[in-house]
Symmetry: C2
Subunit: 326 residues, 2 copies
C-alpha cells in the first residue's frame, strides 16, 4: 500500500531516539557508540556451535580457502587476522600464497581446483591485487556457491532480486548492527548510503531496499551531500575517505554506520580510520559505529557465518535434517 | 572526487529548464511532452539497417522466440503488438503458444530447446502467467545470453556491477528518453525512482546510478512520498498505480518519466493509463512522458535492439569485423 503523506515515523524501537526535529529536540546529546567486538564474539560462538555440529553429526570439516597473490605487507596482515578469527571459530583455513609473478591464468587454475574440491566450502581471493591484474576475472572464476565474499555477479544478481545470496560481509555487518541496536524491522526509514562502490555501498543499499527502507545512494558527483544525507534516519558511510562525514551531514538522532576504512599516518604512526569523525558526529547522532572496532569485527564474523552457510548448502545439511525429522 | 556543497546544478542542457526555485520561478509553464513514437521509429530504422547487414554480410536471420503459456486475452494482444513491431523491424518471430495446462517442466523443456537452437537469438517468456506458476524458475531457465528481457539473475548482477548486460526494456527506454531530451550526461542530477519492482523500478535505479546520478528509491512504505520525490530533478514513476503521481510530487521543471501501466475502465471502456496525472503534472514539470505513447513504443524498439545485440554477440560479429579490419 502506498501510504498517505501524514504517516511519518510510525512506532517501533527507533521512534524514541530517531527524532524529526533538529533544533528544539528533546533528545539527550551524545550518541550510543556501538561496539562490534561483543556482537562479533556472540556471533562467533554461534558459528563455533554450528561447526561442531557439522563435524560431529555430519563428519564435515568446515573449510575456507584463501588465495593470496603477492606479498603486500598490509594484505598479509589482514589475511593473518582473518585466519586467526577463523581458527578461533573452528573453521579450517587453507592458505594458498602465490608469488607476485603468478599469471592470472595460473591463479584461475588454482581457483578452479578449489571449486572442484568438495572438502573446500568457501573461497576468498584477496583484494589488494597489483593493478595490472584483472580482479573481476578472478572473482568470476570462483564458483558462486563458494563465493563467501559475495562479489560474484551471480550473488550480486540474487541480492538485487531479493533472493538468497552471499552478501559482502561489511554490508551484512552494517545491516546486522542496525537490526540489533536501532530497529529490528527498519521498514519505511529513510536511509542514505554515501558511496556507491560494488563491494560495500551498493550491496548495503540493496540490503536496505530489501528491508523496505527508502534508500538514497549518493556518490562523488552528488551536488550537496550534506543536504541529502541530513535527511536520513540511517546514514551508511562507505566512501573510504577518512573523516569526510561531519556533524553537518547527520540528522539529529540518526544511526550512523561507518563501513569506511582508510590508512592514515598520524605522527609517523599508521592508523586505520573510518569515514566518520566520531568525536564530533557522536554529539549529533543517535547511534554511531567506531572504526576500528565497529563494523569490522562483525564483518569477519559474518564471513565465518557465510562459510558455515556454504558448507551446509553444498552438503544439503538442512534438507537431510528435514528429511530425517519427517 | 567528492565535491563541496556549493557546486549545485552545473551547466549543461538541463540547467536552463530544471530550476531549483518553486515559487517565483522564471520558467515557462507547461512541460514538454515527450512523444515516444518518433523516437521509436528512428530507433527501429537503425535496427532494421543492422538486421539487413546481419542478413546480407553474415547470412544471419535475427530471430526472437516468444513463449506464451495460456490464453489471456490482454497478454495475447500485447504479444501481437510485439510481433508486429518485430516484423516491421525485420526480426523473425517464432511464437510458441502453449495451452494453459502445460506444466512448468514442459515449459522449461521448450525453453531449453530454444537455448540450444542457434537460429534463435532472443527468448521472451510472457509475464502474465497464472499465479500458480513459478515465474522465477522459468526466467532462470532462459540462457542469459538470450535473455533479451533482462530479467535473468545473471543480467541483474551484471547491471548491478555496471558490466555489459541485457537490461529490462522499460528502464532502458526511460533512460534513453532522459539522455535524448533532458541531458545526455545526467551526472550529479538527483533522481527519484518511485516503485522498487525487480522489472522496472530497480533496473531503472541501477541505470541512473551507473550514469552517476544521486538516486533515491521510494516504495510503498516511504513515509512522505511527496517530500522525497519533490527533491528530484528526474522523477521515474514505476508503481503501476494509475495516476498516483500528482503535481505535489513533482519539483518545478523536473523531468517526469512514466514507466507505469495500468488498465482502468472509464465509461465502460478499457483504457491504458500511467502513474502520472499528465494534465495536472505538465503544469509543473519540465518534461513529461505520456501513457500510452511515451516510454511504451521506445521499450518495444529497445527490445528489438536487444535482439540484434544478442544475435551479434552470439555470432561474434563485432570480433570478426575487428579481425577482418585488423
Amino acid at each position: 500500500m502506498w501510504r498517505p503523506a501524514s504517516t511519518r515515523c510510525p512506532g517501533g524501537r527507533g521512534e524514541a531516539a530517531i527524532s524529526d526535529s533538529g533544533e528544539g529536540s528533546t533528545m539527550p546529546k551524545g550518541a550510543r557508540v556501538i561496539e562490534g567486538h561483543e556482537v562479533a564474539r556472540d556471533m562467533l560462538r554461534e558459528v563455533h556451535h554450528d561447526i561442531l555440529e557439522l563435524s560431529e553429526v555430519h563428519r564435515l570439516t568446515t573449510t575456507l580457502a584463501i588465495v593470496v597473490v603477492g606479498d603486500d605487507f598490509n594484505t598479509l596482515r589482514l589475511i593473518q587476522n582473518k585466519c586467526q578469527r577463523a581458527e578461533d571459530a573452528g573453521v579450517r583455513v587453507q592458505l594458498h600464497t602465490l608469488p607476485p609473478e603468478t599469471s592470472d591464468d595460473e591463479v584461475i587454475t588454482v581457483i578452479e581446483g578449489l571449486n572442484h574440491d568438495e572438502r573446500v566450502h568457501g573461497i576468498l581471493v584477496q583484494h589488494y591485487l597489483p593493478r595490472y591484474r584483472d580482479a573481476r576475472r578472478l572473482i568470476e572464476a570462483v564458483d558462486p556457491v563458494k563465493d563467501v565474499d559475495g562479489f560474484h555477479t551471480r550473488n550480486a544478481g540474487l541480492l538485487a532480486n531479493d533472493a538468497p545470496a552471499f552478501v559482502p560481509c561489511e554490508a551484512l555487518a552494517g545491516m546486522h548492527l542496525i537490526k540489533q541496536f536501532v530497529d529490528a524491522r527498519p521498514i519505511g526509514w529513510h536511509a542514505c548510503v554515501v558511496g556507491d562502490t560494488h563491494r560495500t555501498g551498493r550491496p548495503a543499499a540493496r540490503l536496505l531496499l530489501n528491508e523496505r527502507c527508502t534508500v538514497t545512494i549518493a556518490n562523488e558527483d552528488t551536488r550537496d551531500l550534506a543536504e541529502v544525507s541530513r535527511q536520513a534516519d540511517i546514514l551508511i558511510a562507505a566512501t573510504n575517505r577518512a573523516g569526510m562525514i561531519r556533524p553537518r551531514h547527520v540528522k539529529p538522532g540518526a544511526a550512523v554506520i561507518d563501513l569506511g576504512r582508510s590508512r592514515v599516518t598520524v605522527n609517523d604512526e599508521l592508523r586505520i580510520v573510518g569515514d566518520v569523525r566520531l568525536d564530533a558526529v557522536r554529539e549529533v547522532a543517535g547511534w554511531v559505529t567506531p572504526v576500528p572496532g565497529g563494523v569490522g569485527p562483525v564483518a569477519v564474523a559474518m564471513l565465518m557465518r557465510n562459510v558455515v552457510t556454504a558448507c551446509r548448502r553444498q552438503n544439503r545439511v538442512d534438507e537431510k535434517a528435514r528429511h530425517a525429522a519427517g
